[in-house]
Symmetry: C2
Subunit: 400 residues, 2 copies
């Protein structure tokens, strides 16, 4: 029988440079030691209002219905679909990676006739194919797009796709799990109908909450449903009545401590400035890419569509990718992620997200990777990748 | 524009004596300041195994599929229903309070033909009416029972109901949100098919996780489904593949920090002893009830069916119940809960749960209530209720 729970758990200081969670700043961890208050305590209502207001700034929206869902990013994905879709509706989902596959899966579970628009992993969504699908499926209720495909490292520029979907009368659901806080996500200017993210990536909090924002067009569609939403937990009307400052109707017991953490992580983003945070992610990612190129490693995504918070690198022929990750973790205390789905056993996913997006972390992971790859028989010029990253940082000139 | 987020949040030391969340021990809060590790880190797998093993002890089960859902108690309720029920199945739900109403609502959203067995709020479920409903609905797939109705303070003895449901071939889903950790819940001995709870009540962690356990009969039914589970997030097969120590397939990013908290709160329960914790809750509740009786206040539930973790008191005629709660909170820093549903504006719900179930808290809330009621024109003999509680504690003789 397992009795390891007799010991106090002492977590090591892992450098979390994978696909999330990312390393959380001590200020955010400390916020979680604040005494728990009740979910109907007026003091907590103020915390809720603060979080909503800061989330609106991060999403660049005035949408009133903007708040965190009491679940992880996948829960927000389900919240979007289960509220927008009714059985028999048509949904078109652009699939260019693992999370597009997941979004389509959820739309299907909601009973939607789900049309897939596939493009190769590593590429952005195929907008010509999307237009064909919209033409072929008049009355499509929802188009689902993944802004930042965490599984491939590709970003899909959204404006053209959103306008197209709207021309065909469809609502647009955007997965911004990995982009929010590192790339610009402008819900109002771009006219996104539903946009969601997650706490543990570029927002810098632990995993467990998932911000979401619903625009007017989406709220109209929800109000006009002819059937009940099939989930109680993710039923937007119930959730929103609790978050609405004039209602505060109990829906479920809010994760108080996680909400403290999210407030503090958002405060840190406000202090830094949203644009500055985006610039920091771009700066750090450029250095990482320069270093990886100097090591002769290839990325899965073309330069024009590279995400900043996550860089997906092909593991070289003949190298056991899992063994390299194991040594990074065990010998260097650095976590990077492996591949999902099609990319399983073929890539490393290096995340530079939130608090983790720092020059020093780029230099750490590159130098460790040089050591391990050299030891695995891959030809490495010691220091070359670090030097390339340093030159990138020096030329860019923004300290981080 | 709201800019209160510029300030650091300083939570007061509320004494949380409502329906949950309850006051969390500093050891549990401190556990959340441990550095975040990845959800696929072998170190986290050990944390997961520890949590599962301790949950099995608390549930008194050897069920392999026993783990926390990444949501609050309502999410676990939905997990039970959405995995067991398929559209067109029949579910019978015993409704003797707000959470029975919620369970029936969720069963309906899952597309089940849902039969309600109602009994008056404050009473246990009506087992004669349940038998009538089982007879009238052959082939019923699931019977839903709320062990501890947090809204009314009533406990429903389960063994007879479970045996009856099984005689009619139905699976039994038990809501133990408020009872687990304060009353005996014996999943294996009583032959419960699905049992769930929540982190923030008698388990003593912050809100945000919900333990659940599935027995063999329930797993068989899930494996034999002819349709897909309509939720991805709560799809048991996916969740269980991540928690299964031989699989560890990514399903969603686990709420790492909350899992640290749950492990520490369960460790504290192991240290105290499960039976001792139950005895503490009984001891403390007896003192509270003696004090309330001495104040001339009536409970909503007859003596035989009184829950220990929560005591539901009728607010006296002519007293503004919300004003009394407001003064408790603002003048004494004590939170008690108001009524839900039928009991709205008619009761106070005083919780003595987990770390909050202490003699000292009983004395605090009684003496504060004496002050406020006296000031509201209700006749109070100062000290009488405190004395009654003290005598109860002294006679019982167990320190807490």
């Amino acid at each position: 029988m397992n009795e390891s729970y007799f010991d106090e758990f002492e977590a090591p200081n892992r450098l979390l440079l994978g696909a999330g969670p990312c390393t959380v700043h001590p200020r955010v961890l400390r916020a979680m030691t604040q005494p728990v208050v009740g979910h109907l305590d007026p003091l907590f209502f103020q915390i809720m209002d603060d979080v909503c207001e800061m989330l609106r700034r991060v999403f660049h929206t005035e949408n009133y219905v903007t708040m965190p869902i009491s679940a992880t990013g996948t829960g927000a994905m389900e919240t979007a679909c289960v509220n927008i879709l009714e059985r028999g509706d048509t949904a078109i989902v652009c699939r260019n990676g693992y999370f597009g596959v997941r979004l389509a899966d959820i739309a299907e579970r909601c009973g939607a006739n789900t049309v897939m628009v596939d493009s190769p992993w590593g590429e952005p969504a195929d907008l010509n194919a999307l237009e064909d699908a919209l033409k072929a499926n008049p009355g499509t209720k929802m188009v689902g797009l993944v802004h930042a495909e965490t599984s491939t490292g590709a970003i899909t520029p959204l404006q053209h796709a959103i306008d197209m979907a709207h021309r065909y009368g469809a609502l647009v659901v955007v997965d911004a799990v990995t982009s929010l806080g590192s790339h610009e996500v402008r819900v109002d200017d771009w006219d996104i109908d539903v946009c969601y993210s997650a706490s543990q990536k570029c927002l810098g909090a632990p995993p467990g909450l998932a911000p979401i924002s619903f625009g007017e067009r989406a709220m109209d569609a929800i109000n006009k449903r002819s059937t009940r939403v099939e989930s109680f937990y993710f039923n937007l009307q119930g959730v929103a009545e609790y978050w609405n400052e004039t209602q505060r109707v109990y829906h479920h017991t809010s994760p108080i401590t996680m909400t403290y953490a999210m407030r503090e992580s958002l405060r840190m983003m406000m202090e830094e400035g949203i644009d500055q945070r985006h610039a920091r992610h771009a700066h750090v990612a450029a250095g990482l890419r320069a270093g990886l190129a100097a090591m002769g490693l290839e990325l899965t995504t073309a330069e024009d569509y590279q995400l900043n918070p996550i860089t997906v690198v092909k593991s070289p022929e003949g190298i056991d990718e899992a063994a390299v990750r194991g040594r990074l973790l065990n010998d260097y205390n650095i976590e990077v992620s492996g591949g999902l789905g099609e990319f399983r056993n073929r890539v490393w996913r290096i995340g530079m997200m939130g608090e983790g997006a720092r020059e020093s972390n780029v230099l750490s992971v590159l130098s460790a990777l040089e050591m391990i790859l050299a030891d695995s028989g891959y030809e490495v010029a010691f220091g070359a990748s670090v030097a390339a990253a340093q030159r990138s940082f020096a030329n860019n000139g923004i300290a981080s």
